[in-house]
């Protein structure tokens, strides 16, 4: 930790992105092939559907040292599995509320709908989210470090 404090200027947030295979991951791919610039802080985990994202994944990622988490899936109505993102919306918005209630900044956990053709939007979402997390500093509460 002391190391981290000393090198505060060089501190880079770790961001985990859970992207759905059909829309957001392809969108991220498009951002890459279109040579759009976005921060390299995001580590992407491909899931088949945003509905696959269990609240435990989010909490575990925070526990293991993630500073921010982005869950991204198809726009409502566009889910490859018809209804997966609706289920994700129910589960994960409730988790956001619960994190907020526990006093863990729920802004560290963001959801966004990015379709396969929205490479530009993906780059924008990641850029604004990374800047936001940079301002907030390291996540220490659920990680259990002082």
């Amino acid at each position: 930790m002391t190391q981290e404090n000393e090198a505060k200027d060089e501190w880079e947030p770790k961001i985990i992105g859970f992207l759905c295979n059909w829309c957001s991951y392809t969108g991220a791919d498009l951002a890459g092939t279109s040579r759009l610039q976005y921060p390299p802080n995001i580590r992407i985990i491909k899931v088949m559907c945003s509905g696959r994202v269990n609240p435990q994944f989010i909490l575990k990622a925070f526990q293991e040292g993630a500073d921010g988490i982005l869950v991204s899936g198809c726009h409502p109505g566009d889910c490859h599995y018809i209804e997966g993102n609706y289920h994700a919306r129910r589960k994960l918005t409730l988790l956001m509320d619960l994190l907020d209630y526990m006093g863990v900044d729920s802004k560290r956990f963001q959801m966004s709908w990015v379709s396969a053709s929205e490479g530009q939007k993906f780059a924008e979402v990641v850029t604004t989210f990374t800047n936001q997390i940079k301002e907030m500093g390291p996540q220490t509460k659920l990680r259990g470090v002082k």
């Binding site: 575990k60 509320d97 209630y101 006093g103 659920l142």
Partner: protein, 336 residues
């Protein structure tokens, strides 16, 4: 004024009838031991056993826990599946648990016979011990409750005392919205369904704190948790065959060490697993040896489920579980 003796007699008669006719294999109810101030769970297997059944405001346990355990039993290989019914005595709040279990197909309606007791409120055992603190331990036997309007007349060996009902009332009963079993084969007692609006004022203070204050509060609570998992074991809706917190393979979700990071993970996941299902029977908080306010987490999710998805658990067995369904118009303004 409620005559607990009369309610008890009705429960006994019904249980006896069911056991004699063989409709049920056994009846889950309460009994009173001479030593214990509060009633304990009791299983009546024969008509003679029903004499031991008891009813009073000190019937606190949510007995549906034992109902789930019976329903989870599987016959030996090659044997036909169990079809026997089980009788159970429920308070109005506990009846909502049965509805929730029926929603999840854990308890088929035909396998449970319900005695729904129309009751006013249960007592908080901690408050009872406090009220009895001046009674010598040797006299704390044969404790019985009598309704005397605003007060409970509590008799014990060699004496009696009068305690205002409000002083003994359990916290969960203050915010109860249902005073008659939602589902029952036989109703015991009289009274009509009466709804008191629940304004969630008990968690308002916490919600109005700043984020840092809230974390400080919860961090302090989480640091006290010893992770005995009593809250999980006492919960009738935590019935998974293999609990995620016991799993080692393929992935160990939570370490055994008792730290804030592991404890908050446990409590957050436990709360999420009960979101939209918890009926606020308060067993988790009652059994907690460290007196962690677990109900505050559950109550928050009950409130949010109501605000966001208009879901109020345990009222209608025809509904689908909250996370098993969705609405096209669910709010999602946080999602950018």
């Amino acid at each position: 004024m409620i005559d607990f003796k009369a309610l008890e007699a009705e429960i006994k008669a019904t249980a006896k009838k069911w056991l004699e006719s063989g409709e049920v294999k056994f009846v889950i109810g309460y009994e009173k031991s001479p030593e214990s101030p509060i009633a304990r769970p009791f299983f009546a297997h024969t008509p003679e056993d029903t004499e031991k059944l008891y009813w009073g405001p000190d019937c606190i346990n949510n007995l549906t826990l034992y109902l789930v355990e019976e329903m989870k039993k599987k016959p030996k290989k090659g044997q036909p599946p169990f079809t026997h019914a089980v009788g159970i005595v429920v308070k109005p709040c506990d009846s909502r648990t049965i509805v929730e279990l029926m929603k999840e197909h854990m308890v088929p309606r035909e396998r449970v016979k319900i005695i729904g007791v129309i009751s006013e409120e249960s007592i908080n055992p901690d408050k009872l011990y406090l009220a009895l603190k001046n009674v010598p331990a040797s006299q704390r036997r044969n404790i019985r409750f009598h309704d005397a309007g605003e007060n409970f007349r509590i008799t014990y060996q060699g004496g009696e005392l009068s305690v205002p009902k409000k002083e003994l009332e359990a916290d969960k009963c203050k915010v109860c919205v249902v005073h008659k079993a939602v589902i029952a084969d036989v109703f015991v007692g009289t009274g009509e369904i009466e709804f008191k609006p629940d304004d969630f004022s008990d968690i308002k203070e916490l919600e109005e704190m700043s984020e840092e204050e809230r974390w400080k509060y919860w961090e302090q609570q989480m640091s006290r948790c010893v992770r005995c998992y009593a809250c999980r074991d006492a919960c009738p809706l935590c019935y998974c065959e293999e609990c995620v917190f016991d799993r080692e393979k393929p992935y160990r979700w939570v370490e055994k060490s008792v730290q804030v990071r592991e404890n908050s993970f446990y409590h957050l996941v436990r709360a999420m697993h009960l979101a939209g299902r918890c009926i606020d029977c308060g067993e988790c908080q009652r059994v907690c040896p460290m007196e962690i306010p677990i109900r505050q987490l559950n109550r928050f999710l009950i409130k949010k489920a109501k605000d966001r998805f208009k879901v109020f658990s345990g009222m209608n067995a025809e509904e689908k579980p909250m996370f098993g369904t969705y609405d096209l118009d669910d709010p999602g303004e946080e999602i950018k």
